[in-house]
Structures are given as structure tokens and as C-alpha cells.
Amino acid sequence: MLTLLFDGIAYGMLLFILAVGLCVTMGLMNFINLAHGAFAMLGGYLTVALMQRHDVPFLVCLPLAFLVSAVVGVLLERTLYRTMYKKPHLDQVLFSIGLAFMAVASADYLMGSQQQIMQLPDWLRGRTELFVDSPFVLGMGHYRLFIIAVCAALTVGLQYVLSATRFGSRLRASVDDPRVASGLGINVNVVFAATFAVGSGLAGLGGALGAEVLGLDPTFPLKFMVYFLIVVAVGGTTSITGPLLAALLLGIADVAGKYYIPKLGAFIVYTLMIAILIWRPQGLFVRQGGKS
């Protein structure tokens, strides 16, 4: 019971790190980016390849995954994505699905279509059990504990940057109303490029962390696209707590659903999402006042 909750939280935290970049880009430029999962896949493959072929330690791989995805993200943003912001949503959907298709086929070509296996370092394997004798046994895999710790630290960091720094207030202003923000002398383009880079970087990091939990194969961007979008749609795009709560909810619902009713697991998640979206089309946790 508690173990399930624990796994669900780990899963949810991972989803949050993967999707938070998507939330901000969607909120900032109203851009529907279905190719976000490709950055996560990039981070995952990079980590696997570095660890297997060059024996780079796991902890070195994580920042590398972040950096490379961020750089690729900012390059793509400057060259391709920029031209898409003004276009209708249909164009954006087609464009980003096209990118996702290309990423899937390229990964297949470069790394093969099989599932990649991640060799975790020894200190992350194993499992600690608490309350063994009580009815609420809590079994914590060390790796999941590590994921929760990293993601929680990142979340706190993000929240700090957003709420207490100058960049954060610029970003919030740009999300609320880009036109007025640029009127106030904020260079929305630069803010956006930086955010896009960080968002892609975080997705890459999430992909690297999640390669073991979520599984990594070339269809990753399409398989998890739905989950990222659920987090964004349910959590809303105006704050960072909304997506966090949505991701945790999704993670717990998914893990619990798959455990208790194995064949209907995903069914529950989708039904829940549709119900929530019909009930509150703008997302569950929308801050009042901002331009939605």
C-alpha cells in the first residue's frame, strides 16, 4: 500500500521533471510541442551510450544529459521552432509530430529498435523496507529514492528561481502577457530561448533518470507524449505547482491502477483526464488573473 504510494510519487516526480519544460513553453508562447519527448529520449540514449561504451560514471552522465539536451533544444528553438509561434495550432501540431517522427526513426537507425538496458551503479541498487511487521509495509527501492531526492531538489530550485529571482519575475510576466511584458522592456525572445533550453535540458535529465523506470526504446517520444500532455492539460500552464500536483496525481493513479486492475490501468488514467478536462477545461490548478 505505502510502497505503491511511494512508487507512484517517484513516477510522478519523474513525469514532472520531464513535462515541466513543456508547461512553460506552452504557457509562454501558446505553442503545442508534441516533440518534447524527443529531448527526453536524447538524454536517455546519451546516458545509456556513455555508460555502456565509454564507462562514464552515472553521476557524470546526468549533467551531461542536461547540457546536451539544452544545447540541442536552444539550437532547434533558434532555427526551427521560432517560425512556428505565430502559426495556427494545426501547423504546430503537424510540425512537432513531424519532428517526433523523425526523432523516432533516427533513434531506431542509430541505436537499434530494441529496449535499452541501463546498468545502475551498485549503490543505487537494492531496497530498504520500513515497518516490516506492521500492515503498512513500505519498500523503497534505492534508485526510486534517488529519483525523488533529485526531482525534489530540482523542484525547489525551480520554484526558487521562478519566485525569487529577477529572471523568474521576467518569466512570469512574459507568461501572463507577452505583449505587455515586452512593452515593459523585457526581451521576451531571450527569456523564451533560455526557458526552452532549460526545459529541454530538464527533459533530457528526466529521460536519463527515467530510462530505467520508464523503459527506453525508439518509440519513447510517442509513447509518453500523452502523459506529458496530460500533465500540462490537467495542471495548467500558469504555475509550477499545478503541473507538479497533476504529475503526482497521474503517477499515483497510474501505478495504483496498474497494480489493482492490471488490464484497465491506462483506462483509468485517460478517463480521469477526460473527466477533469470536461469539468475544468483550463486545467485543475489555474491561477486567476493571468491571461489563460
Binding site: K87, P88, H89, L94, G98, Y109, A233, F267, Y270, T271
Partner: protein, 324 residues
């Protein structure tokens, strides 16, 4: 010329259209060895026309249109297997069932932004996929529903291996639904749909009942997609889980984008182009054809969808407006 006349003018059948349909109906006979692919094209064209009603004419971005295709396909296949093998009855069942589903689902797309609708439509298709997977006793699960044997068409024409009968059958149904859709978009109802697409707020202000219009067109489009699904199940004698898959919805959206949205022939032209392109690319690199499809999509959007179907604008320097 007054408004009434010019509207009638726009709705009139042109000689070129008639020529196109004559050509389409002659094709299974003229190139009999390609009858199977003509059948496939007719079916996906019908599916694309259905999406065009929703996406091109009403402006609802749907990434889950395969829900209705799949529902129609399973309904027709199950009907043929368990109740009666007559194709026309099965087609009706597929259409009616999908229409009902569309009427229910239309309630879910009334509110929210494009993203919300995208997610809700996508979610509907995924839920149906999960259900079809779960009730494997009925649907055959991941193995697909096998053993669907169709009776002869109109009691006379057996479905042959060459696929000529299926091709004519699908083309006839396509023409039927196409005429219906054509009537619909040229009727005043179609005009109000375009108004809803272009500016929902203003449409509401001039008294267009937006919610009921969206419900009507979504329901009709669902029925047409169900018809396409029924044709698919009947002419292949098979229904599998991939009829609900995201790829289907994405592919049909691509076809429509290739042919041009908001133009009924766009779906048909796109379906022909897509199938031919798929055949060529998959012939060269069967494993990596998605890469080229993806590249094509990216390039298509970068140069502008409007320009691709109008080659005479390629070299003009006039700036194109992005909005459709």
C-alpha cells in the same frame, strides 16, 4: 450578381469534378492490378473527408479521430461475424453506431482551448483502444478480430481477391458520403460552421448556436468516419487494435494537411498523395519511412501548407499570411 446567385454558383458541380469521379470509377477496371490500393485510398479518403468536416470547416483540432474509425470497424466486423454477413447492413450498423458515439463525444469538445480538445479527443481514442484490448473475448484483443466472412454485395457480387468489387463498393460509399458532405458545407449550416471556425465569439454574437452546430458536425463526421471503418473491416475481413492507434489519427491529419484543409477534395487528394508516397518510401526503406514522413511534415509546415498545393505561388515574393 447578388449574394444568392454567387452562393449557388459556388455550390454548383463543375465539369472537372465530374471528370474526376468518372476517372475514379473507371480506375479499378483500367488498372485492375492496383484495385486493392484503390480500395485502400477510397477508404482513407473517406476518413479524411470526415476529419475535414471537423478540422477544416469547424476548426476543431482533433488528434483522436481514429476512435470513430475503429468503432465503426469493430461494429461492422462483429455484426458480420455474429449476426448477419450482408455488407450493406453491416455498413449501416457501423455508421449508426459511430454516429451515436460521436453524439456522446461531441459533449466533451464544447469547452476549453485547442490543447484541451486535443487531449480529450486523443483520450477518447486511447480509452477505446484500452477497452478493445481488455474485452479480448469479444474483440480478439491484440490478435485482432479474425474470421469475418462477408456475404456477397447486394446478394450478387462476391468480394474477389483482386479487390475490384471492394474498390467499386468503397468508391460508391465514398461518393455517397462525399455528396452528403458537399451538400452540408454548401448549405447555410456549412456557412455557420465556417463562421464558428473563423471567429467563435463573433459567430455567437450574430446568433449562431455554436454549441449545437459543433455537436451536429461532430456527430455527422463521426458517422462518416464510422462508415470508413466499416468499409475497412469489410473489405479486409479483419479488424485489429491498430485502428484506434494514434498513428491513424496522425496519418489522416497529415493527409488532410497535404491536400489542404477546408476543401473537401483536400482529403481525397491528400489520401492519394499519402498512399502513393507511402508506397514509394516504404519500398525503399521499410523500417525508416517515418523519418521521411516526419521530414516532409516539417518542410510542409515551414514553407506553408497553403503554398504546397498552389505551385504558382512558389516564386512570388509576396509575403504569405500565416493564418488560414
Amino acid at each position: 450578381m447578388n449574394a444568392h446567385k454567387s452562393l449557388l454558383q459556388a455550390a454548383r458541380w463543375r465539369p472537372l469534378e465530374l471528370a474526376f469521379w468518372v476517372l475514379a470509377f473507371v480506375s479499378p477496371w483500367a488498372v485492375a492490378q492496383h484495385a486493392l490500393i484503390i480500395n485502400e485510398i477510397a477508404i482513407v479518403a473517406l476518413f479524411a473527408v470526415s476529419l475535414d468536416l471537423v478540422l477544416g470547416y469547424t476548426g476543431i483540432v482533433s488528434l483522436g479521430h481514429a476512435a470513430f474509425l475503429g468503432f465503426g470497424a469493430y461494429a461492422a466486423a462483429l455484426f458480420a461475424k455474429h449476426i448477419h454477413p450482408d455488407p450493406l447492413l453491416g455498413l449501416c450498423v457501423g455508421v449508426v453506431v459511430a454516429t451515436l458515439l460521436g453524439a456522446v463525444c461531441s459533449l466533451s469538445i464544447m469547452r476549453g482551448t485547442d490543447l484541451t480538445r486535443l487531449m480529450v479527443t486523443l483520450g477518447t481514442a486511447l480509452i477505446l483502444l484500452e477497452l478493445a484490448n481488455k474485452y479480448s473475448d469479444l474483440t480478439g484483443g491484440a490478435d485482432g478480430l479474425q474470421g469475418v466472412i462477408m456475404g456477397p454485395l447486394l446478394g450478387k457480387f462476391e468480394f474477389d481477391l483482386m479487390g475490384q468489387v471492394s474498390a467499386w463498393y468503397s468508391l460508391t460509399v465514398l461518393l455517397l458520403f462525399f455528396v452528403l458532405a458537399r451538400r452540408l458545407v454548401h448549405a447555410p449550416l456549412g456557412g455557420t460552421l465556417k463562421a464558428v471556425r473563423d471567429n467563435r465569439l463573433r459567430a455567437m454574437a450574430i446568433g449562431v448556436p455554436v454549441a449545437s452546430r459543433i455537436a451536429v458536425v461532430y456527430t455527422v463526421a463521426a458517422g462518416v468516419a464510422g462508415g470508413a471503418g466499416a468499409l475497412m473491416a469489410q473489405t479486409t475481413g479483419f479488424a485489429s487494435l491498430d485502428v484506434f492507434a494514434l498513428d491513424r489519427s496522425a496519418d489522416v491529419m497529415l493527409m488532410l494537411a497535404m491536400g489542404g484543409v477546408g476543401w473537401l477534395y483536400g482529403g481525397i487528394v491528400g489520401a492519394i498523395a499519402f498512399k502513393l508516397m507511402y508506397d514509394v518510401i516504404a519500398g525503399i526503406t521499410p523500417q525508416y519511412w517515418t523519418f521521411w514522413i516526419g521530414l516532409f511534415l516539417v518542410v510542409l509546415v515551414m514553407v506553408g501548407r497553403e503554398r504546397l498545393i498552389r505551385p504558382w505561388t512558389w516564386f512570388s515574393t509576396k509575403r504569405q499570411e500565416g493564418a488560414v
